[in-house]
């Protein structure tokens, strides 16, 4: 029981295992750790639809993806949360903001709006299948939506806003892929599927390099060791994944090829599949 008030040193404490402790102290912080972690909604899958890769291609790319999601919704086979990226309007926003000399946190504050617009696009197209735009303030209504058989559509950018941590680059480091990842991770989801306009991950940008090599399967550790200069997903996602506990599989599929998203949701290893590495002793290695 932790309910006792403890005075005596000029402060009034509440008895707890962290009472009077410095939370910066490594030994104290380590005491809060444990092998297991509560998985809040482990059966749900996160599907992220690319902004630049899908939305910016317009009707010819968007409608087949929407049709595929509508068919999945009709089957009611998966509980899923949809995330959308911002695309070229986000890039335009950042480009102008950098040129104007806005502070990094100011740039981060601006970019979410373009994703909100794409969430409205997606919701307008999918509303008849029971989609709903989920506002961040309604975080805990997610189980309600899912229980009601609906599919929430979230914006991906995390709410770091003015408080975006400084980087050497003028670009905010906590982007859409990272945000979708954290959203899935905190809810205990195990599988995230990114729908893009490439077959998956390459060792360099296939749009610029004809000799780019396709990577069908890899692990987080192997991918980090490769130190690829151009990635299809935010590098901060892979940094955060090291200490994450729930997400086991990050998959990238080509949304321009109908059927791949459906197969990925069914558990097939289409596109690129990145799994979290497992240590040789099979225990804690995932958290190196």
């Amino acid at each position: 029981m932790m309910n006792k008030l403890v005075p005596g040193d000029g402060r009034i404490h509440i008895e707890s295992s962290l009472m009077r402790e410095s939370l910066v102290n490594r030994a104290v912080a380590a005491r809060t750790d444990s092998e297991q972690e509560l998985a809040i909604l482990p059966h749900v899958k996160m599907v992220s639809i690319g902004g630049q890769s899908i939305f910016d291609r317009g009707k010819d790319a968007v409608l087949p993806v929407i049709d595929e999601i509508a068919a999945l919704r009709a089957q009611k086979s998966h509980a899923m949360v949809l995330c959308v990226g911002g695309g070229t309007r986000t890039r335009h926003t950042v480009s102008i903001a950098v040129d104007l000399g806005l502070p990094l946190g100011g740039i981060a504050q601006l970019v979410g709006a373009m994703e909100e617009a794409n969430a409205v696009f997606a919701n307008a197209l999918l509303a008849k299948t029971g989609s709903i735009v989920m506002q961040r303030e309604h975080f805990w209504e997610l189980p309600l939506y899912l229980e009601a058989g609906m599919m929430p559509i979230c914006i991906s950018i995390p709410p770091y806003h003015f408080w975006e941590p400084p980087t050497e680059s003028p670009l905010p480091a906590h982007g859409s892929d990272f945000g979708a990842f954290e959203h899935a991770e905190v809810l205990g989801m195990e599988h995230i599927i990114f729908v893009k306009d490439e077959d998956g991950l390459y060792d360099k940008d296939p749009k610029k390099h004809a000799d780019a090599r396709f990577i069908a399967r890899t692990t987080l550790d192997a991918l980090r060791a490769m130190q690829l200069p151009e990635m299809i997903l935010d590098h901060t996602l892979f940094d955060a994944w090291r200490d994450a506990r729930h997400v086991k599989k990050v998959q990238i599929v080509n949304g321009l090829k109908p059927g791949l998203l459906t197969r990925a949701l069914a558990g097939e290893d289409v596109g690129t599949v990145i799994t979290k590495s497992v240590a040789k002793d099979g225990t804690k290695g995932a958290r190196q």
Binding site: T32, E168, H174, K207
Partner: protein
């Protein structure tokens, strides 16, 4: 069905790495460099109640017409109780970050009530853009120190405690406003090489560089570790000042720019 691009310096960029920003002409401007961003400690000050809090607020009143003050609050023992309970229940770090947000908000409301007659006004993260109005009206905006990351906080390394708590929020508020310094009001004379409450032989460090401090790899620090890391690459907020708010006069002197307490600087 090609991508329909808007032409810009980032057209077609994956924007997934720092590389994408290389070569951009970026000369950020300081939004409100003369704002003094300060934090009133939770465990160190607010949990002491009237005896510690009232004299500090008197000092804020004394300088409020000379300086624009953005007052932020820490959490303290109730936040520790929440983190302890949530850790025991194996909750994810993002949930701890969201739960940990409640306590500093309560503390900010308490401080606002005490400062109401002097223009104290409680603000939320969404009110941040209205700061120019509050300052023009002579108000003292009071807000939580916690940044708004909440459920989107990263999992912590070998810990469940969120890495970005109220120190980080205060530093990041100063950084985005373009303030040179963030001020932390605590109950010790500054930064020590160990927790002075537990180790009486801990030594005071009056001035130290961020990289130097990280290199010393101390088991405990007076400020959240991420803040020291960010300080090294900050564009505006190059100094953290830690002062003992229990010593009369310290808070005013620090607000007016004196180097009382400890200074951790970008190096």
């Amino acid at each position: 069905m090609s991508r329909q691009h808007l032409q810009s310096s980032l057209t077609g960029s994956p924007m997934t790495s720092a590389e994408a920003g290389r070569g951009l002409d970026y000369r950020p401007m300081a939004m409100m460099p003369d704002v003094v961003v300060l934090k009133i400690g939770g465990q160190s000050i607010l949990d002491r109640g009237r005896a510690a809090v009232h004299p500090i607020l008197d000092e804020l009143r004394a300088v409020k017409d000379k300086k624009k003050l953005l007052v932020c609050t820490g959490g303290g023992t109730r936040a520790r109780h929440i983190y302890a309970m949530a850790s025991e229940l194996s909750m994810p770090t993002g949930v701890l970050a969201a739960l940990g947000g409640y306590v500093p908000r309560q503390n900010a409301r308490m401080v606002q009530m005490l400062l109401a007659n002097d223009g104290g006004i409680y603000i939320m993260h969404d009110d941040f853009e209205k700061l120019p109005l509050y300052f023009r009206l002579g108000c003292i905006p009071v807000m939580t120190g916690m940044p708004p990351f909440g459920y989107w906080e990263k999992p912590s390394h070998e810990s469940r405690i969120p890495a970005h708590r109220t120190d980080a929020g205060v530093f990041l508020s100063a950084e985005v406003l373009g303030a040179r310094r963030a001020l932390f009001i605590k109950d010790e004379d500054g930064l020590y090489d160990d927790d002075p409450k537990k180790n009486p032989s801990a030594k005071l460090i009056p001035r130290i560089g961020a990289k130097e401090l990280l290199k010393r790899d101390l088991p405990d620090l007076a400020v959240e570790r991420v803040v020291i890391e960010y300080l090294a690459r900050a564009r505006f907020c190059k100094e953290l000042q830690i002062v003992n708010g229990l010593v009369p006069g310290n808070v005013q002197r620090a607000i007016l720019g004196e180097d009382v307490g400890s200074i951790i600087h970008a190096d």
